[in-house]
Symmetry: C2
Amino acid sequence: MPMKRNIFLSVFLALVAANYCVAQPSAGRRWINTHSPEVHADRTITFRYLAPHAKEVKLNTQFAAEPYAMTKNADGVWSATVGPVDPDMYPYEFLVDGLRVMDPGNPDCFPNEHFKGSMVEVPDTIPSVYSILDVPHGNVEYVMYDAPSIGATGRLVVYTPPGYDAHGDRRYPVFYCISGTTDTEEVYFKVGRANFIMDNLLAAGKAEPMIIVMPYGNPAAYFPPTSEMPRVDLFGKELMEDIIPFVDKNYRTVDNRLGRGIGGFSRGGGQALRNGLTHTDKFAWVCSYASGIGTDDFEKNFKNIYEDPDKTNREMKLIWTGVGNTDFLYRMATQFSATLTKHRVNHIDFISTGGHTWMNAKLYLHETFQRLFRAGNY
Amino acid sequence: MPMKRNIFLSVFLALVAANYCVAQPSAGRRWINTHSPEVHADRTITFRYLAPHAKEVKLNTQFAAEPYAMTKNADGVWSATVGPVDPDMYPYEFLVDGLRVMDPGNPDCFPNEHFKGSMVEVPDTIPSVYSILDVPHGNVEYVMYDAPSIGATGRLVVYTPPGYDAHGDRRYPVFYCISGTTDTEEVYFKVGRANFIMDNLLAAGKAEPMIIVMPYGNPAAYFPPTSEMPRVDLFGKELMEDIIPFVDKNYRTVDNRLGRGIGGFSRGGGQALRNGLTHTDKFAWVCSYASGIGTDDFEKNFKNIYEDPDKTNREMKLIWTGVGNTDFLYRMATQFSATLTKHRVNHIDFISTGGHTWMNAKLYLHETFQRLFRAGNY
């Protein structure tokens, strides 16, 4: 009876998602629990990984400085229960005899060029700024675009706010969010929850409706490592010649500097400052999340910003820098801020607790989204 | 000079994406090549994986029945060069001492509840039906929706064709594509390329512009495995009570049976047949990709389809079944087709070469997209 076979098959395979069926020579076949991650009500988390033949399995997470030891049970399932953990979304991976491995049963991945992390969310008793709430949700679109300046097809993730009408009269300001080193164009959506942070702020009347464009900050990766493509500053070229024209052509944008902002995390923050502060004709709002520009470099290459600070302060609506107090780029970010101060260039600094993480990046998005394009400044 | 440090950092970390820097006690530090996958012009592919301490690493792919052995070089990089391989997109993974591991340096993942596969594309000398070509691209949206019937927030991926106007007068037919066992709502986009297949057909005038709704076929997974949620038929309930009303409310749909179709792969095919053929008031177009309904089950529960075949043949605009000739569900699919024939229920069969794979599923999408909603049948 094929259909019964199929029903069994479906149920069987569905169960496989959370459990494995293992052969027990003596006891026959039975189910063992590999459900992972299991977030408990007390904010402890149990992680499980089936590796009967591994010598050592550790849990590497961003809520702990050191990996946790995991212990193996008779079924060959390694597990660790940790916490309570502060409410947030955390990347984690298993270290299996030294190899970095994702959690097989967890479909929530950290999109990245290099490492393969899984994601776990520890909910708070009250909604977090990035929580998925019952408010109007904007659209998140995956977009392909032509990048003739570098001879490739590029990828964008684009957020349009609730009520956006591609054929209506209303135009919206645009904020460009640049991905950091090894991150992809998906990271602000899948890890940063930029869309949900904005949905929540808009529902609370705390932000201006805006389009958020999330490009891939490393277009060199569109080409094989063996290619002769010059890698440095490739993104800046593509941003100016391909991405901004594509966005202004295909979305209802405010096509001027007052309606255009740029920000980024880590390398993306450097790209945001570098492109934003050297193209003040295109951007009036510039945000650096855990990055900066070195003093010597600034003195040498950014005269346009500091030679007439009064002009800069009139023209630039926002220069914002944020960094964590234990971030490995803390010194660079705060030195950059000091350099701006020395030159009497207005800017806002935000120092958060913690390191170079997307837990912090979400806070920076939440802070800056409330300042961008405010007071009809576009 | 912090910025120089930062430039170095960026370049360093960017290189990390394709290479590792390893300590060589005698020779100092140097780069080693872990670029993977490397698709060569002759359609051979080199896969690489750094695992100095692994005893055995194999390459498991869907273009070969058996895993390939990989060999380790002096740097601890395991590699295999295989092929030439027929042009297509293939899932693969590394088997590291028996553990299933993704390719760390490859950002293209197979979205799945359970396994963590990487994807490699072997391009053809001529465009494939799923190739990303310079044609107008529809929008691919990630959508959250309320699912009160099961008390959850659901996820959809939704394709709207080029020229779609959310506020215009034109209405579009809707095709629901149901994900198979362990697949997620992302699979038709990221693995099936349903959007690009449709873009290409529309550009060639070979398909009707339509909305493609890609739900998650396993809503039980919205709940912890320990919950009391009844798992069987949960999707059907959600489809009828939550998803279809949400789509008809939020998109410019043709809200009647002639403008609504349903299809699915594997378990999703069973769900498409089960929901489509028992709700002929809602669906006039039903497609099964590598699935079927057992004869006994059909005789018992689908009288509405076979009791008056002339009525069925008048009302149903398409009943389509496709399966691979080596698919483990080949017998079920062809028996289902024979049962329809025995009852004089019109249907179209399509037998492809190969097994239960997304290489085949892409072909089924391409075949059926050309038949859905044709001749203004809505």
